[in-house]
C-alpha cells in the first residue's frame, strides 16, 4: 500500500496479513469527510479501503505472483462510519479458480460483527501489465 498513491492519500495502512486474508485501516481525517454537517467520511473512502484490501488478500492467497484486475465490486452500507474513529477493513479471498479470485470483505470500527459496510469482489487473474499488489504484499511482509 506504500506504493499505491491513492492508498497513501487516504492514509491506508496494512495491519495484518494471513494466508488468504488482509486487514488494513484508514485513520479518521477531516479531508475524507463526505457530509460536512455530520463529519461522516464519504462512501468512496470505504470503497477504496475494501477494494485495495481485497486485492492484497488475493495476492496473499496466490502461490505465485500474478497480475490482476478488479472485475466488479459490490458494497452494502450498513451504517454510517463514526466521525473521529479509525476504519478497519478485513478481506478474505475464499476462492481462487484458474482465472478468477473471489473476495468477501467487511469494514468496521471495533468489531467485524458490527459492520459499517460489507463487500464482494471478483478479480480477473493474469491480466496484462504489472500490478502494484506485488508491492503491497512485500510491504505487508
Amino acid at each position: 500500500m506504500a506504493h499505491v498513491p491513492h492508498a497513501q492519500q487516504l492514509g491506508m495502512q496494512v495491519v495484518q496479513v494471513r494466508r488468504d486474508a488482509c486487514t488494513a485501516k484508514i485513520p479518521y481525517d477531516v479531508k475524507l469527510v463526505g457530509d460536512p454537517d455530520t463529519g461522516v467520511v464519504h462512501g468512496g473512502v470505504i470503497t477504496s479501503l475494501l477494494d485495495n484490501t481485497s486485492g492484497v488478500a488475493v495476492t496473499c492467497a496466490l502461490d505465485e505472483f500474478r497480475t490482476m484486475a478488479t472485475l466488479d465490486l459490490r458494497i452494502d452500507y450498513m451504517h454510517p462510519a463514526t466521525p473521529g474513529a479509525d476504519i478497519f477493513g478485513y478481506c478474505h479471498c475464499f476462492k481462487v479458480t484458474r482465472n478468477v479470485a473471489f473476495v468477501r470483505g467487511t469494514a468496521y470500527h471495533d468489531s467485524p460483527d458490527n459492520p459499517i459496510a460489507t463487500s464482494m469482489a471478483s478479480f480477473m487473474l493474469g491480466t496484462k501489465g504489472s500490478s502494484v499488489h506485488r508491492y503491497s504484499q512485500e510491504t505487508a511482509k
Binding site: 491513492h6 475524507l32 477504496s48 475494501l50 478488479t70 459490490r74 458494497i75 452500507y77
Partner: protein, 148 residues
C-alpha cells in the same frame, strides 16, 4: 444551518459547484461539475494522488468508485428538493477498462425515483463515451422532505 440549506437560500437551482467546494472528499479527488440545462456532467481531473497502479499507470478503483458515487449524489440533489444528502444503501461497480492518467467524466441516470429510495446508474468515460471505463448502479436513501 445545514450545508444544503445554506446553498438553497438563493433563488433557482442548487449551485452544484459550491456544493462540491464544501465537501472535503470531493475536493481531495479534485472533482468539478458542469451543468448544461438538465444535463449534468462531473469531471475528475488527473491527479497523481488518484492513482492506484503507478507502473501502468492506472487510476485507483476506489477513487473511480468514489467519483461515481458522488456523481449519483449530485444528480439526485439536482432533481429533488432534498434537505439532506442522499445516503448510499448499496453500490455495485463494473470495471470495464483501466482508468488512464487523463481526465475522466461521468453522467448519472436515475432509473427509478421512489419516495424513499432511488435507483441510479452512472457511467464514467475518458476520451470516448462509447468506451466507458466503469459503471456504477446503486440504491440511495432519500430522506423525505416535509412536504412529501
Amino acid at each position: 444551518m445545514t450545508l444544503l440549506n445554506s446553498l438553497m437560500n438563493s433563488e433557482g437551482p442548487i449551485n452544484l459547484h459550491n456544493l462540491l467546494a464544501k465537501i472535503p472528499y470531493a475536493q481531495m479527488l479534485g472533482m468539478d461539475v458542469h451543468r448544461m440545462g438538465l444535463e449534468i456532467t462531473t469531471v475528475l481531473p488527473f491527479r497523481q494522488t488518484n492513482v492506484g497502479n503507478p507502473t501502468l499507470p492506472a487510476l485507483h478503483g476506489g477513487a473511480v468508485a468514489g467519483f461515481l458515487e458522488m456523481t449519483a449524489i449530485i444528480e439526485l440533489l439536482a432533481r429533488t428538493d432534498n434537505k439532506v444528502l442522499p445516503k448510499p444503501i448499496d453500490i455495485s461497480i463494473d470495471y470495464l477498462r483501466s482508468g488512464k492518467p487523463m481526465e475522466t467524466y461521468a453522467r448519472a441516470t436515475v432509473t427509478k425515483h421512489g419516495r424513499r429510495v432511488s435507483n441510479v446508474q452512472v457511467l464514467a468515460w475518458q476520451s470516448d463515451p462509447e468506451h466507458p471505463i466503469a459503471r456504477l448502479h446503486g440504491h440511495f436513501f432519500l430522506k423525505p422532505t416535509e412536504t412529501s
